[in-house]
Symmetry: C2
Subunit: 363 residues, 2 copies
């Protein structure tokens, strides 16, 4: 199959860029977006980079009714030398195709879309901020656009990429968070859509999140939907525990999102020769480890915060305080290493970074 | 709180209406739609009936990313005398508010929206077809519209109602369907969103549906997500079994959609003095009943098809043929009675119908 070319229509006016201190997550968008259409019989076509603009859809468009959609999240980083680079973008496109498979959305050409994302970032390179901890968040997503009120896979879709300059996820660097273990609501179950990055999983999470926030916790730790005993993930991050020197994380069981940061953490720990295990972990087991004084650290991993240390877990009336609610040594080391590679401060022995452009103007 | 008024902007041109024989489900829409906005701090406002038109949203609108949405489905029927009536519309608005609660969407004024729907149907009354088995399908839905890439409840929403003239769900009246029991995929689990009418549940169902269709079955029968033993619902309908004279249907357990047709069927059966039970039903129990010759009938219930007799269930290599794959007496009686009430052919002892207008022109 011949690779598509990308039509480019540059914006006539440029928006004002926010100051580094004003950056928040996902509120401001760059000057351009990437758009591509799918029509049954034609396939994916009309790949274009166009000025950032609203989408116009029929009110019967299936996305508004039956939630057939997938998305991804990755970042572009500005290095000290001024160059711009992505972190493992091919992994995002690979996962998007796995999500597509589950949601019955036609597959995309992964390599072509990595190129398209690079081209879009290059065009909007001035939007990649250079202050400490800032980056350009990239959001590829696919929505079903066919106007039809029937429960069936759509015959028309849009693939879109939008980008938002974002600040450091935590204002004062990494800071331990308090997490409540969720007993009533369930995020996902085996046989469901938990391992796909699709809207419905996030919609399902809002209620529990709202409740725990009122009680002073920043996120929810999800248990499995069958036995309500085994740890799945935390908020929208994967989770790691350090118990008596061993690092353990829930095995990918079909209902857990296969995080790219999770994969990078495991890779790194193995590279350092540390014992890391992917397996089923019950909350009871973690509580026992805590009581024995063996629960040394816990942290979440995800694109937005990279590493988010867990200072306290609230479970069935018990407050499990981890590492005196301070950022652990390992959490810090993993955070420093991954962000170090992302910002080009340290060597990238795994070829995780993909260069977009050498040097460029920063606003 | 003072009730909102509804601004009306009539369409300058009228679309051509399809012929009764051309009617399919959910492809053609009427001349007008109802729209209402929600903004935090203001509440629901700007209730309007406007010409049917596209919706324009920012590509960062949360509906495209995190699936925060709910919908409803009901119908308007034309009676023999030419009047137009709705079937239990207050139940749809009541359920929509229960779905809103689960999806963290602000509640709506149920009585006001029943009025709004009546007004919309009245304006587009010529679109209510009069051929046997046809009706006007009404689709209220709410989408999160705030442009923000954060997993949190939105601060802006749109409530929209669109309408589509639809034909008889089954071309030759009611006809038994073949159903495959799903063992791999799960629609919903307790603690999830199964009892809410939200897009994610339908997105999750597409994969299993696609597989069984290729194998010659028209729908999936969903089992519970925990033990994978208990019957939940069929496709997007609730399900009933007649075993040795008793009618049983799965109890609403938190993962099953509380169907309004389901409720009407139970009401009717009780009214007739028939034994009807809502409880947990395992597939094994139904197979045993079949082997003993006691599984007399099975049918699905929902707004689209009203009653859909099940002629065969395929489960773990076994073909369970029910009532010789013919429409059972009870299924037929329930179908005739509910549709009889809906079309005003028989008396409505339960006050289920709501008159929209007395007589009106039909195209």
């Amino acid at each position: 199959m011949e690779e598509q070319s990308i039509r480019v229509e540059l914006s006539q006016s440029k928006k004002e860029k926010p100051k580094a201190v004003e950056l928040v997550f996902g509120r401001i968008f760059t000057d351009h977006m990437f758009v591509m259409d799918y029509t049954e019989g034609i396939g994916w076509h009309n790949a274009s980079i166009v000025p950032y603009q609203p989408i116009t859809l029929d009110p019967a468009a299936m996305i508004f009714h039956y939630g057939q959609s997938v998305f991804e999240g990755l970042k572009a980083f500005r290095t000290k030398s001024g160059s711009v680079q992505l972190f493992r973008p091919e992994k995002n496109m690979e996962r998007m195709n796995r999500s597509n498979e589950r949601l019955v959305i036609p597959p995309i050409d992964e390599a072509f879309l990595v190129k398209a994302i690079k081209k879009l970032v290059e065009i909007d390179q001035e939007w990649v901020p250079d202050a400490e901890g800032t980056s350009l968040y990239i959001r590829p997503f696919i929505i079903s656009t066919e106007p039809f009120l029937g429960v069936a896979p759509a015959h028309q879709y849009k693939f879109i990429v939008i980008m938002s300059p974002v600040g450091s996820y935590y204002k004062e660097g990494i800071n331990p968070v308090k997490i409540a273990v969720e007993n009533k609501y369930v995020r996902a179950v085996k046989g469901g859509t938990g391992e796909a990055k699709t809207g419905g999983n996030y919609a399902a999470s809002l209620k529990a999140q709202e409740i725990v926030e009122k009680e002073g916790y920043s996120q929810v730790l999800w248990l499995d939907g069958v036995e309500r005993k085994y740890i799945e993930e935390v908020g929208s991050m994967n989770v790691f525990f350090k118990v008596n020197g061993e690092i353990i994380t829930p095995a990918l069981n079909g209902s857990i999102l296969p995080g790219i940061t999770r994969d990078s953490v495991i890779h790194l720990l193995k590279h350092w020769g540390l014992p890391v295990t992917e397996r089923r972990i019950s909350m009871e087991e973690m509580y026992d480890a805590y009581e024995k004084g063996e629960l040394e650290e816990a942290f979440g991993s995800g694109t937005a915060a990279v590493i988010s240390p867990i200072g306290e877990l609230y479970w069935e009336g018990k407050h499990i305080v981890i590492n005196e609610c301070k950022t652990g040594e390992l959490s810090k080391k993993v955070y420093d290493t991954i962000t170090g590679i992302q910002y080009g401060k340290i060597e990238d022995p795994f070829n995780w970074t993909v260069k977009v452009c050498e040097t460029s103007k920063v606003k």
